[in-house]
């Protein structure tokens, strides 16, 4: 854990409302480069709101607070600019986009990042090789290559596709929003293997999850518990186990 350096992501006193309703209520969080943080919390605590606000989804009003990413004001950037700067959101409910081919989107996404960095576009042949390699890791069938984005995918396939996109894009900050929900144990292991394969001192990951199950396979450096829009408690991975045993009421009661 690095605390001496400027954190990769620094959220300070963040207040967010959705349609007039206060969801995040003074959230403060610092995440260093190379760290994996888990954000846990009961339903409605603001976990998904945090993930979406970081990715720049429209419809959220930031009423106070700051978010800096690599020392820059993240909130001033459009969603596509954040993506090009290395922020990736793995969706809880990935969208089906019939008519837009999976590989086409992947390639467009990779080229958007490369353009930002002043690099030439990827070589189509090499790129396909890379995608196939990552597909194998994520147990994704060949038919994926010719299908529309998430078109007709099962819940588990959609989640694996999110992780596949993450592996191909190699983000600096990956935010996975309940990527484990709705997965059976085999799919969970595949997803976890995908996330673990990306762990490195350069990459940072925020795992938003309701259950500690995923954390058995992707071991976090720090666990935070979100209650009513702010961090109620932080600790090491044993905090997740304790939560599992005692339930969220334990922390909610303390935070009240």
């Amino acid at each position: 854990m690095s605390t001496a350096r400027t954190p990769l992501l620094a959220i300070n006193d963040l207040h967010v409302t959705v349609e007039g309703k206060q969801i995040l209520n003074g959230l403060t969080l610092q995440v260093g480069a190379g760290e994996v943080h888990a954000i846990m919390g009961p339903n409605g605590s603001g976990k998904s709101t945090l993930a979406h606000v970081l990715a720049g989804r429209p419809g959220y009003e930031i009423t106070a607070g700051t978010v800096s990413y690599e020392g820059r004001d993240l909130l001033a950037l459009a969603p596509e600019e954040r993506a090009r700067q290395g922020v990736f959101l793995g969706f809880q409910y990935p969208v089906e986009i019939p008519g837009v081919n999976n590989v086409y989107l992947l390639k467009a996404a990779v080229n958007a990042v490369r353009q930002q960095r002043g690099l030439a576009e990827v070589d189509a042949f090499e790129f396909l090789g890379l995608v196939r390699e990552k597909m194998k890791l994520m147990h994704i069938e060949d038919s994926f290559l010719s299908r529309g984005v998430n078109e007709g995918f099962s819940g588990g396939e959609k989640k694996r596709n999110e992780v596949l996109q993450m592996l191909v894009l190699e983000p600096r900050l990956a935010i996975l929003d309940e990527t484990d929900s709705g997965l059976d144990i085999d799919a969970l292991k595949v997803v976890a293997a995908g996330v673990n394969s990306l762990r490195s001192p350069e990459r940072t990951c925020l795992l938003v999850t309701h259950y500690q199950r995923l954390l058995e396979y992707v071991v976090p450096d720090i666990v935070h518990v979100l209650v009513r829009g702010r961090i109620a408690r932080s600790g090491d991975r044993t905090l997740a186990l304790e939560l599992e045993r005692r339930g969220y009421d334990w922390v909610s009661g303390q935070a009240a």
Partner: protein, 436 residues
């Protein structure tokens, strides 16, 4: 029904028909048609299935056939490899611009060549309830002096490939263009047919086309229709098809051009297990009107219909699709699906999609879905979260929206031309060669 409009049509018809020989089937049919038209009148916006069509231009049009101005071959769309081409200018066959068919299984006869070239019944008895729907076909019947009579015989090895190009060369003030096709597929015959309507210049032409089709048992027809007339043209077209037992009819309509376009499609599935795919794409921008009315009637049992519409309306355009499926008393085991979707690409644009089902028997499977709205915000955000510029994401979603229909065009060169044409109105997300 005597109105100033029908009186004027009658008068113009009397003048125009002086040039024709008074006897013979053509003259007889013209007289029958004009009598029927005068009795019923043209539809008005009060007629249920015409409320989205733009009928106002009729007041200032001339109905007599135009004197064709021959276009240059270079003004025509690029040839499609493997397809014979027949060009008609303002409805009249232009042999110099055509590349005739070299296939024993089919004959194409210009209707003007001889009255004998015409099939016995070119105007099918109007379907019950059709009412005002097919009266523009009567107008065509009354004035058309030429057209294509096509007969295709069974040829199991290879489908016949045929392209019909209808060029509108005149301004509506000087005369009308009457494209006409009478097509008969014999039992087990196979045909790939491209029918395109283009302009020979920037004229405000008046085009009124009529197509009649008859598919014998086991016949297969893939029919690609492109309406890409100039921006000020007015077009009405009426297609009437009868599909026999085990026959398969795939109709792909791409409506892009003209100021105001109305397409009336009437398909009767009269044979058991007849199989119909009716897919239409329509794009409107500026003040264009693109109106399609499709009526599919299941007469025989166990026939199948798939009706797909994708329309994009931008500017102050109106894009409408009214898709009606009637399942008759004998049509048990009918399987019909409708997927009608409209996309609003501007605050002042209009989209009207209307699925209608009338079922007079049990044991049928009929599903329909109709949506009209803006681009999906969730899809847009998903694409932006992957680094795509909002404008690129919007283009990509518009293309994806049309892809359902366009991707099913199996003639590669034609699909390429259509994509190129679509790109003028809906810019492609990426420059060519960049995409996967």
């Amino acid at each position: 029904m005597s109105t100033p409009l029908t009186a004027r049509i009658l008068e113009e018809h009397a003048n125009a028909s002086r040039a024709l020989p008074p006897a013979g089937p053509t003259a007889t049919r013209q007289r029958t048609a004009i009598a029927a038209l005068t009795a019923g009148g043209l539809p008005t916006s009060r007629d249920e299935n015409w409320k989205y069509a733009n009928l106002r231009p009729l007041e200032r049009l001339r109905f007599a056939p135009a004197t064709p101005v021959q276009p240059q071959a270079t003004d025509l769309p690029a040839a499609i490899p493997g397809f014979a081409r027949y060009v008609f200018v303002d409805g009249a066959f232009a042999p110099a611009l055509s590349a005739r068919l070299d296939a024993s299984a089919a004959t194409v006869t210009p209707l003007s060549a001889s009255d004998a070239g015409r099939t016995a019944a070119t105007v099918p008895a109007p379907a019950p309830g059709a009412g005002a729907d097919e009266r523009f076909a009567l107008l065509n019947e009354a004035f058309a002096t030429d057209g294509a009579a096509i007969r295709v015989a069974a040829h199991p090895a290879e489908p016949v490939r045929l392209e019909l190009v209808f060029v509108a060369s005149a301004d509506a003030l000087s005369g009308a263009s009457y494209p006409r096709v009478e097509l008969q597929l014999e039992s087990q015959a196979q045909l790939l047919l491209i029918e395109r309507h283009v302009s020979g210049g920037p004229h405000a032409s008046f085009v009124n086309s009529a197509v009649t089709l008859e598919l014998g048992s086991g016949a297969t027809l893939h029919h690609y229709r492109l309406q890409e007339l100039a921006a000020r043209a007015i077009v009405f077209d009426t297609l009437s098809a009868v599909v026999g037992r085990d026959a398969c009819y795939r109709l792909h309509g791409i409506n892009i051009g003209a100021q105001s376009a109305r397409s009336t499609l009437a398909v009767r599935l009269t044979g058991e297990r007849a199989d119909l795919t009716l897919a239409v794409v329509a794009l409107g921008e500026h003040q264009q009107v693109q109106d399609t009315y499709a009526r599919v009637e299941h007469v025989a049992p166990r026939a199948r219909t798939e009706q797909v519409f994708r329309g994009i309306s931008a500017g102050r355009a109106r894009v409408a699709f009214n898709g009606k499926i009637v399942v008759g008393r004998e049509a048990h085991g009918t399987d019909s699906r409708q997927s009608l979707r409209g996309l609003l690409a501007g605050p002042e644009a209009e989209i009207d999609v209307r699925p209608q089902l009338e079922i007079y028997t049990d044991e049928v499977r009929c599903s329909h879905g109709a949506t009209a709205g803006k681009l999906d915000e969730n899809m847009l955000f998903y694409l932006r979260s992957r680094g795509l510029e909002p404008e690129v994401a919007q283009r990509l979603l518009k293309w994806a929206f049309l892809e359902d229909v366009v991707a099913k065009i199996e003639v590669a060169e034609l699909r390429r031309q259509i994509e190129q044409r679509l790109a003028r109105q809906v810019p492609e997300p990426f420059a060519r060669g960049e995409s996967a």
